[in-house]
């Protein structure tokens, strides 16, 4: 049997790189991109990192550095990023028979059995992605996904490597693991890394040689998988688009035609909540939310209108509140005054099994929120559906997303194209 070989392709500062493709003046300058609502910094160029701007920091905390160093700040333009991501993933697919799209800017591919020089092949993949899309990537190669991820960190950090690094056939792998902090290991979150450090396990080499029963006690069964992978034994297979359902849709004809946005929002909130409850029931998290609205095609007295749009979520979620927010922000975009809306719906897609989704910066926050969701589900189950609702179902919440410095949808809208 062949030894397994995986490669992880990770886009460098993806959101910033997307902005740079359409505005090359941003090259070599410090650039950051903000989360939804312009709250926190979620992407930094190399130059911005060098100024000490940390990942996930709230914007107001770094206002001084940003002003002093003339850092360029973007609101996140998910429409653009999703389209660029699709292009990158398509190019990768042409290089490998199977691909696991792990997040908007990361993909695993399987090189097992391929008779080729992995590093050379990865270099040509990297060059092709850069030429076709303008997006620079780093590629890490290893005999397990966990090791490929570590190799990727090295490829990204060491500028002499040209963006590609392989841990396959490396004799001194322990030296490299020794330089990898536990918190950097894929699957070791913040809480766990604190716990391990408090036990004196602060790098990947120390973790690799811990005893199984101790690991199981400290880190549960998934932790044991991670450690087994550090030892070079693959136990996390490539997850291609899974057999689990691909989408979940709640759609209804309204009881009476709706004309006011408040009424439409109220209905769509309910649809979003129901769809989310269903995926939560199945242990899934969604990374894409779509909403659609239409008038009656049979009503000859009034003009027909139908529209839909979708949003890619930064973090896949099954949190009702986040999904409702996304669904409603689309509704506000596609809703037009003066029509009698007869039907609407919310569609969730891009599923991951909960717990296997890309790691979030704010995973501890998410945990709390999912406990809240569980409690709501339980109450609704016991006392009948709709016992607990989200406020906008009763009265439309009056908020709008803040996206002050958002660039145009250069690649998806004909009237927003790049001017040259």
């Amino acid at each position: 049997m062949h030894k397994k070989v995986f490669a992880l392709i990770d886009c460098n500062a993806f959101y910033v790189s997307c902005e740079r493709v359409f505005n090359p003046k941003l090259n070599n300058r410090p650039v950051v991109a903000l989360s939804n609502n312009d709250g926190c910094i979620i992407a930094r160029s190399k130059e911005a990192k060098a100024l000490g701007i940390k990942m996930g920091v709230p914007l107001f905390k770094v206002k001084d550095i940003i002003q002093r160093e003339k850092v360029i700040v973007f609101s996140s333009n998910y429409t653009l990023y999703a389209d660029m991501s699709r292009r990158v993933m398509n190019v990768i697919s042409e290089f490998a028979p199977s691909i696991e799209i792990y997040s908007i800017d990361e993909a695993f591919i399987d090189f097992t059995g391929a008779r080729l020089n992995y590093e050379d092949y990865a270099r040509s993949l990297r060059a092709t992605i850069l030429k076709c899309t303008g997006i620079p990537v780093s590629i890490g190669i290893g005999t397990t996904k966990t090791l490929a991820k570590i190799a990727n960190h090295i490829a990204k950090d060491d500028e002499t490597l040209d963006g590609v690094y392989s841990l396959v056939d490396i004799k001194s792998i322990d030296n490299i693991l020794e330089q990898t902090e536990v918190g950097e290991i894929w699957g070791v979150g913040r809480q766990l890394s604190k716990k391990l450090i408090s036990q004196g396990i602060y790098n990947a080499k120390l973790l690799k040689y811990c005893e199984d029963h101790w690991i199981r006690k400290m880190m549960s069964i998934n932790g044991l998988k991670t450690v087994t992978e550090l030892r070079g034994i693959s136990c996390l297979p490539l997850q291609e688009i899974s057999a689990t359902r691909k989408s979940c849709c709640t759609t209804r004809t309204f009881g009476r035609p709706l004309m006011k946005i408040e009424d439409v929002e109220q209905a769509m909130t309910t649809f979003a909540r129901r769809a989310t409850e269903r995926i939560r029931d199945e242990g899934l998290v969604a990374s894409s939310v779509s909403s659609f609205l239409r008038t009656s095609p049979f009503d000859r007295g009034n003009k027909y209108y139908s529209n839909s749009d979708s949003i890619t979520l930064g973090d896949p979620t099954c949190d009702t509140i986040l999904i409702i927010n996304a669904a409603l922000s689309i509704v506000r975009r596609i809703f037009k005054e003066g029509y009698k809306y007869k039907k609407g719906g919310v569609l969730l897609s891009g599923f991951y099994v909960e717990g296997e989704e890309p790691q979030s910066l704010f995973s501890s926050v998410k945990k709390k929120s999912s406990n809240l969701m569980l409690a709501i589900d339980n109450i609704n189950q016991r006392y009948g559906n709709d016992t607990i609702q989200i406020a906008s179902e009763c009265q439309a919440a009056n908020w709008r997303q803040k996206r002050k410095n958002c660039t145009q949808s250069y690649t998806t809208q004909i009237n927003k194209l790049l001017l040259v």
Partner: protein
Amino acid sequence: MFITFYKEAVECGFPSPARDFTEGSIDLNEELIPHPNSTFVVRARGDSMIGSGIYPNDLVIVDRSLKFRNGSVIIAVVDGELSIKILKIQDKQISLSSANKNYSDVLVSEEMDFTIWGVCTYVVHTLSPVNK
């Protein structure tokens, strides 16, 4: 973009016998954009490329994956500024020229930050606007 394509000319007056010869449709995406992953559409600004048939407001299809050569119409990036130019390569000297005599050539020097963003493949120019 799909346009039904009949192999035979359609005759007037009769129910068309050409119906039997329908061959599917012309897909302009397929014809004009063979490499969708590396193709972008931009909108032309200014009159510097009129001689190549690129007028202000035209849509220009740009393929990043194509190899450029002497005479290619390209999107050039000079010091971070994007522009549509004709690439001239002579004795290893690169220059960028416009298709309009009111603009002079730009010699690309060592100090310039110069890259090629993509190769322009097609122009979409409006002759009679159609209401959608």
